[in-house]
Symmetry: C2
Subunit: 235 residues, 2 copies
């Protein structure tokens, strides 16, 4: 397998109500026409904008989004200073309930999409209708993690691509049954796309070409990636 990863750069500033699949299809047609088995990684920010998940906040108060964090959370895991680590109503554990003030206009905060798997399905269906292609779509966001410094992009929604590659029962190169078995390819793809999108350049969509056709199929972040609290050793 050999991957070719690049950003789709010519998507205009996204506004509430915009047809995101249409904007992506048009930008891709200008830059690199879409093909079957492409994987498109779309940043949460533009999905939240298109779906009008924007809330007015007081721009003079640096903590004005904090009540929103509590509202979007079902369980607070940790607090330190202004930082809140919580479980969102979608089941994600992240800082500030995924609410973001970067790359939105002053006086606005962007909430996570209501259902990012549904958002991904809409984009996939829209691209099929407009460009006649069967692609995988991942909605990505930037999360921290315990034990390791720095942030990485992970998948918060997906459609058309299997979130986990299950190698249980497969044999390793020496013919022994594998121990490490369930690879979260969807998060590795989201992180790989982040590398070409950057945080300051406003490239909202990353394209990954060359993914094994066997990786495409059913599944969603909600069903396959979000770990139930009862199964989680750190909640």
């Amino acid at each position: 397998m050999r991957l070719d990863i690049f950003g789709i750069a010519s998507i205009p500033e996204v506004r509430p109500g915009d047809d995101l699949a249409g904007l992506i299809a048009e930008a891709a047609a200008r830059e690199e026409p879409l093909a079957d088995h492409d994987v498109l990684v779309v940043t949460q920010k533009v999905v939240s904008k298109a779906e009008n998940q924007l809330v007015a906040i007081d721009p003079s108060d640096p903590l004005s989004h904090k009540p929103l964090v509590e509202q979007e959370s079902v369980r607070i895991l940790r607090r330190r200073g202004d930082l809140i680590i919580s479980e969102t109503k979608h089941g994600f554990v992240c800082a500030n309930a995924g609410i973001d003030l970067s790359n939105v206009e002053r006086g606005q905060a962007a909430l996570l999409p209501e259902d990012s798997d549904r958002s991904a399905r809409r984009i996939r269906d829209g691209l099929r209708a407009r460009a006649g292609v069967e692609v995988g779509v991942i909605i990505s966001d930037t999360f921290g993690r315990p034990w390791r410094k720095g942030l990485t992009d992970v998948a918060i929604g997906s459609a058309g691509i299997r979130p986990i590659l299950d190698l249980r029962g497969a044999q390793d190169a020496l013919g022994r049954e594998m121990q490490v078995t369930e690879v979260a390819i969807i998060d590795e793809l989201a992180g790989a796309a982040e590398l070409v999108m950057g945080k300051t350049e406003n490239v909202a969509v990353g394209m990954i070409r060359g993914v094994d056709p066997a990786w495409f199929g059913d599944g969603s972040v909600r069903d396959d990636i979000v770990r139930d609290a009862v199964d989680d050793l750190f909640r």
Copy 2:
């Protein structure tokens, strides 16, 4: 930025004492000659083998590696059944202290390298000496994480590439100062390489071409990625 990611497939089975940089340089010369600013991601398994971090275990006892897990750990975080999540003496938090039975011979367990940043520096220096190239080297391993199912590859050692891209003070596309600022590019690179290496094919080295030359420089996993216990909200 546009990334080209592929595996170096012709590295032979690695044995204790092997010159890993030499094996990589020879395989790359056969397949895709190395160039400045390539990033090579090397799986922990072959580093542990070359450095003879192999320990004999009783192959008839499926739990015979458990005493090794306790020996390699400085702090046990969670136990459930046979699973131990611990902090290793290197500062990593992972399952079973990173000890692995896949892709090693029956009757052996592979410990993590003593110091994987040093392992990465040796490979980088070896490639400079043999091929005259300035590359980045990442040693990768497959870790689980809380809250999300599935495993991803992350960096456990590095040389020649900056582990974190620090965007603090940079402005977003709308001219506001960035909130999300410290991107762990080294882990996103390790995960991206995993996609082309697979777990069953025994491709021990992934190559990433096209990385921004500004990302090369000093730093190590130990200094830049491992979070001190005192700063960690989940330990």
